[in-house]
């Protein structure tokens, strides 16, 4: 089933001359894990925000084309309505804390209170996401007393408690240390395995390669390519888009070792190991 359909999307921020997004079209199936890559300020964040309606509702600006999430046309619905289908997690864990709640437990309830959920169900859902995100032990702490990794997992928990079918993440681990990012990636993967559709903009190519079914390459507001990680990272012209392939791909490319049964180079540690062992043997 098509979960997201973007058709000829064009967008220009107010007070800006250039189009931030130019004629973007793609489709995403239910349950896919999609990575968005490209160099800085090519429209990755804008595209993420277009999927939850922050573009155009929050910024205004000139908008053309169509974005359908789960059958809902983003342009014609309020952010609050769309938030029930699509959740979004941002880069900075600090600015996602509402600042109006005293405990992690209450913080997660914020979105549920706004959507008018009965109390019993709220408690059930909060307990569930606390467990899934492995932050039960800090549920009575102040949201600001958490580590970066915990805080970001709380942000994801707050969104997932609202039970969206689609989760959009904009560089969710760029401000975390390696251990903190690993915690967050694990958590996202858990949701993905439960059938949630995940779209994630990210600079860490090794992680994109490890987790994503397909990768969307953006450049100067245009969609360059949308394909498997092996295909994208094996492109000869990747450098022109300011992207470096995962280190495993670079090693295999330099040695001319391709992944078995596919035309591209391996993109993960495991695949690279397999391919190299075979070629050494």
């Amino acid at each position: 089933m098509k979960k997201i359909v973007v058709d000829g999307l064009k967008y220009k921020y107010p007070l800006s001359e250039a189009l931030a997004l130019q004629d973007i079209s793609f489709e995403i199936e239910e349950g896919e894990f999609i990575g968005i890559i490209g160099k800085n300020s090519v429209g990755k964040s804008t595209l993420c925000q277009a999927l939850v309606g922050l573009v155009p509702h929050f910024y205004k600006g000139a908008y053309g084309g169509k974005v359908l999430v789960d059958g809902l046309e983003v342009r014609n619905h309020s952010i609050a309505d769309i938030s029930r289908k699509v959740g979004m997690v941002f880069q900075n864990p600090f600015t996602q804390v509402t600042g109006s709640k005293m405990t992690v437990y209450e913080e997660i309830a914020f979105g549920l209170e706004n959507s008018g959920l009965p109390r019993e169900e709220m408690r059930q859902r909060i307990d569930e996401v606390l467990r899934l995100m492995r932050i039960e032990h800090v549920k009575d702490h102040s949201p600001f007393d958490l580590s970066g990794g915990q805080m970001q997992r709380m942000a994801i928990a707050s969104i997932m408690a609202m039970k969206p079918d689609i989760l959009v993440l904009d560089e969710p681990t760029s401000q975390l240390d390696p251990a903190g990012s690993e915690e967050v990636f694990q958590a996202i993967q858990d949701f993905s395995q439960q059938g949630i559709t995940v779209i994630m903009a990210e600079h860490k190519m090794e992680k994109i390669a490890q987790y994503c079914n397909r990768v969307l390459l953006l450049h100067e507001g245009r969609l360059v390519d949308f394909d498997t990680a092996e295909k994208i990272f094996s492109r000869e012209d990747l450098k022109d888009y300011g992207v470096t392939a995962p280190v495993y791909t670079r090693v295999c490319r330099a040695l001319g070792v391709k992944k078995q049964g596919c035309d591209g180079y391996p993109v993960t540690l495991e695949d690279a190991e397999l391919a190299l062992r075979r070629s050494f043997a």
Binding site: H203, T244, A254
Partner: protein
């Protein structure tokens, strides 16, 4: 250049110690400081820079004890580039921002301007002298902050997470700057989480864990000790892991080394 002996520190007298019994000497090798958040890396750097005062132990930079000087006085010897450029930038133009530190240490205006422009040339911002810094992109802002510290021509330059939020192009510029500084015989030190970048660019690596130095040595030697690194929750760089898995004997730090090793 820097000598640290028996250094311990805690934020409050009764509080837990953030650093305990650190003994280190720094020479002119490029040095990476790695370890988890909360391991004491930032505190250590702030002590070197005189932003915090030592409780126990001593830090000497050259012949001076750091404790005896204010952070502002130390600005001539040691430069620090902060993680978030928005915490630093406040002038109206790129040139003024780059000159701010120089004017603070009483460099004449014309000399300051010349030094600032030179530093901005190094980071590739020379054609944006009159631009308002807030109109720059995030990675350009970061480069501006680096230039404004480099302009002061200190013997020691410390970076705090220079690669965060940088794309490929930004990383390349930072890589080049570190090499340039090294050529000029400066001590470059950086707090960093990106292990691949450490492997490719730093001669020496120090691993902090729970306020102590867990490992210290040549980068290659440090990354060969996988088990000890695990203790500090640090994974060796991807290419090092791959080399180990496919059974290459030496510890590999870069793609080029990997390819060479296979060619043997």
């Amino acid at each position: 250049m820097i000598k640290v002996s028996n250094l311990s520190f805690s934020y409050s007298p009764a509080g837990p110690s953030v650093l305990s019994d650190i003994n280190l000497e720094f020479d002119r090798r490029t040095t990476a400081i790695i370890g988890q958040n909360g391991a004491g890396k930032s505190t250590f750097v702030k002590l070197l820079k005189g932003l915090l005062k030592t409780d126990q132990g001593e830090i000497f930079i050259g012949d001076y004890e750091v404790k005896m000087k204010t952070a502002a006085e130390l600005a001539r010897q040691i430069g620090l580039v902060f993680q978030n450029p928005d915490d630093q930038i406040f002038k109206r133009t790129v040139l003024d921002e780059a000159m701010f530190g120089l004017l603070n240490i009483k460099i004449g205006k014309s000399t300051a301007e010349r030094l600032a422009v030179e530093a901005l040339e190094m980071v590739g911002l020379e054609d944006k002298l009159a631009v308002n810094p807030h109109d720059l992109s995030l990675s350009e802002k970061k480069l501006l902050c680096i230039a404004s510290v480099m302009a002061m021509d200190t013997d020691i330059v410390i970076f705090d997470e220079p690669t965060i939020g940088q794309d490929h192009a930004g990383m390349e510029i930072i890589r080049r700057i570190i090499q340039e500084l090294k050529k000029k015989n400066k001590l470059v030190m950086t707090i960093i989480h990106d292990m691949d970048f450490v492997a490719e660019n730093f001669d020496r690596t120090i691993v902090f864990n729970n306020g102590k130095v867990l490992l210290d040595g040549e980068t290659r030697e440090v990354f060969s000790q996988k088990e000890v690194l695990m203790e500090a929750n640090v994974e060796p760089p991807g290419v090092t892991q791959l080399a180990e898995r496919v059974g290459l004997k030496n510890t590999i730090l870069t793609v080029e080394e990997f390819v060479q090793e296979c060619g043997k």
